[in-house]
């Protein structure tokens, strides 16, 4: 390593982490306090239609004369909770099945892992689209579709962790001490499995926001007039020459996904020093 100059100075790593945290906190605030952060209502026609950005309307108005800035802020109320719900549900289902799969082995392991293999054989967006189309439009249905697509990721990760941890000596000691099987899994194996799974979940929050927006964009998630970022961009695409209609929601998705990626990157670097 001596061949490459090793620069000194402040740890650059903390900067993206800081930016990432700031961006995510901003959008969290928007989720909670959107009505306090703007003086307009996301559904009200507050000005003439398709006005370019001005001091009254930072991001202009859309085809129905609604304030794009306000709608963008309110959009966080859909995207963030959906992402958290989808990741949590997928994590619960995936981690549960993955742990069982790794711990029990045999038929259960085989059955679960084949289902995982098959689900992961689809390009995620395509499968989510197919399921969402079957379920019908609506953010709730889109969320179900995303959980169906996403849980196998955690199942595979959890299983690999359990397989690794169960070979360790303290587990052997617990077996020798006569601990019951559920106790071994819950008390001796699982607590050591969470770290990589949770890091992966953090990084996935951004990806799930992107997927949800994509589904809404093609009309399979949120439906108008809901101020959801994906469907707002789709409205903006219809008003192609009024670029500001799609700008706000697009910038919102970009910043929040970038924020989660910054955080995920920092976590990743922290736990995988090789890439520092």
């Amino acid at each position: 390593m001596a061949l490459l100059p090793r620069p000194k100075g402040p740890r650059w790593l903390s900067l993206p982490l800081g930016i990432g945290l700031m961006v995510v906190v901003f959008w969290l605030l928007a989720t909670l306090l959107a009505p306090q952060m703007t003086s307009y209502d996301p559904m009200d026609m507050v000005a003439r239609r398709l006005q370019p950005p001005s001091w009254q309307h930072f991001l202009g108005t859309d085809a129905l004369g609604r304030d794009v800035f306000t709608r963008t802020l309110y959009g966080a109320r859909h995207s963030l909770p959906i992402a958290v719900i989808v990741v949590c549900l997928s994590l619960t289902v995936g981690a549960f099945l993955g742990a069982i799969s790794g711990f029990l082995g045999g038929v259960a392991d085989n059955a679960i892992m084949r289902l995982v293999d098959i689900t992961l054989s689809f390009p995620p967006m395509l499968l989510a689209m197919a399921v969402a189309a079957g379920l019908g439009p609506g953010l709730g249905n889109a969320a179900i579709a995303m959980v169906i697509v996403w849980w196998p990721v955690y199942a595979r990760l959890m299983r690999a962790q359990v397989l690794e941890v169960r070979e360790r000596e303290h587990v052997e000691a617990a077996v020798a001490a006569g601990a019951s099987r559920p106790r071994i899994l819950l008390k001796h194996i699982l607590p050591l499995c969470w770290t990589p799974v949770l890091i992966s979940a953090t990084m996935d929050l951004g990806q799930v926001i992107l997927l949800a927006a994509s589904l809404s964009f093609i009309g399979l998630g949120a439906t108008p007039p809901t101020p959801e970022w994906g469907s707002m961009i789709s409205e903006g695409a219809a008003q192609f020459y009024s670029w500001w209609v799609a700008f706000g929601p697009g910038a919102a998705i970009l910043t929040i996904v970038l924020g989660f990626n910054f955080i995920g990157d920092a976590l990743h670097d922290h736990f995988d020093p090789r890439s520092k």
């Binding site: 098959i118 689209m129 197919a130 903006g236 020459y241």
Partner: protein
């Protein structure tokens, strides 16, 4: 190694059957009513029309029956008839597959070129402004929604500056070349029509760049990590001691030794490209499988949805299989799980 490859090949038919079953079940076990896609709203109350439509499209049969018939037809290459286009789904897909492949391959070339270049630069100038910029550029590509980036670039380059053409595969006023490969650029070359070739290439730039940028990040991150490791090895020291120029050290000695993992990640990035193609095609009015899938999903065209999902799954499965096997062949030390 041979045993590993054989085992993977042996598992293929079962995985394909799994894909077919899952795609069939997930799209039919749901509450979306395909009849709304077939029968007009006014006739929905007419029991004879409903009964006839059900009989015509086989919707009067039980689910297991339909499944068996579907799989039986699939073996002969029949994926049913699209509710919307009223043509055979298999035919529709075959017709549209080349456009998607052309886009995805162009995106792959652009994405891996950007990704490898950024990864090498970032590793060589580690922790300098170049490194930070390369990482930011890469991260941006994997964070931005492709459908929004596509809109923005279309607006800037096509509308504002008029440098690049608008959506579509080629200028509608130019003559279509005879379809041989279905790749418009290649067909134009084969027909010897240079104007069409340049026009098609020109139309390909923007969507391929948008799509390629989205995978450049993953590639550059991996190249950077591997380059860092290789650059610290002793044979690099040897090469430098023997007086090899820096270009030669980086490209010939270091980069070549990161080739296997790089090719692997490019292979796996295919999935992201397929996913991204769905949205990119929608924005750029690209007549490929992606826009077909979107219109099918919007119109509740279930035969088309199932067909596209199966084809997407199988294409994805095959690329991953090829990537895995290539990795094992190129890297015999790898432990096979």
């Amino acid at each position: 190694m041979t045993r590993y490859i054989l085992r993977r090949l042996f598992a293929m038919p079962f995985l394909v059957l799994g894909i077919v079953t899952l795609a069939f079940l997930l799209t039919t076990l749901t509450k979306g009513d395909p009849l709304t896609a077939i029968v007009s709203e006014r006739q929905m109350n007419d029991p004879t029309v409903i009964a006839a439509a059900k009989a015509r499209w086989g919707l009067d049969r039980s689910l297991p029956e339909r499944y068996v018939i579907y799989v039986g037809n699939l073996v002969t290459g029949d994926m049913g008839t699209s509710f919307i286009t009223r043509r055979a789904v298999a035919q529709d897909i075959l017709f549209r597959l080349p456009a998607t492949m052309e886009l995805v391959i162009a995106a792959m070339i652009i994405g891996s070129t950007i990704g490898i270049a950024l990864g090498v630069l970032a590793a060589y100038f580690r922790n300098t402004a170049t490194d930070h910029f390369a990482r930011l550029f890469a991260l941006f590509g994997s964070s931005v929604p492709v459908f929004w980036l596509g809109l923005a670039l279309l607006f800037v380059f096509s509308v504002k500056f008029g440098i690049l053409p608008g959506p579509g595969r080629m200028d509608a006023r130019l003559p279509l070349p005879d379809e041989i490969t279905g790749f418009l650029t290649i067909d134009a070359l084969l027909a010897g029509d240079l104007r069409v070739f340049i026009d098609a290439l020109w139309h390909l730039i923007l969507p391929a760049f948008v799509l390629g940028w989205s995978v450049a990040g993953t590639i550059s991150r991996l190249v950077r990590a591997n380059m860092l490791e290789v650059l610290g090895r002793e044979f690099i020291l040897t090469a430098r001691a023997k007086g090899a120029g820096e270009m030669r050290v980086v490209l010939r000695h270091a980069l070549r030794n990161t080739l296997v993992p790089t090719l692997t990640v490019i292979g796996y990035s295919f999935a992201y490209l397929l996913t991204g193609a769905i949205l990119t095609e929608t924005i750029f009015s690209w007549p490929g499988m992606g826009s077909y899938a979107v219109s099918a999903a919007r119109g509740l065209d279930f035969p088309a949805i199932i067909g596209v999902t199966i084809v997407g799954g199988v294409v994805f499965l095959i690329t991953n299989l090829i990537t895995d096997i290539a990795y094992v062949i190129a890297n015999p030390r790898v432990k096979l799980g």
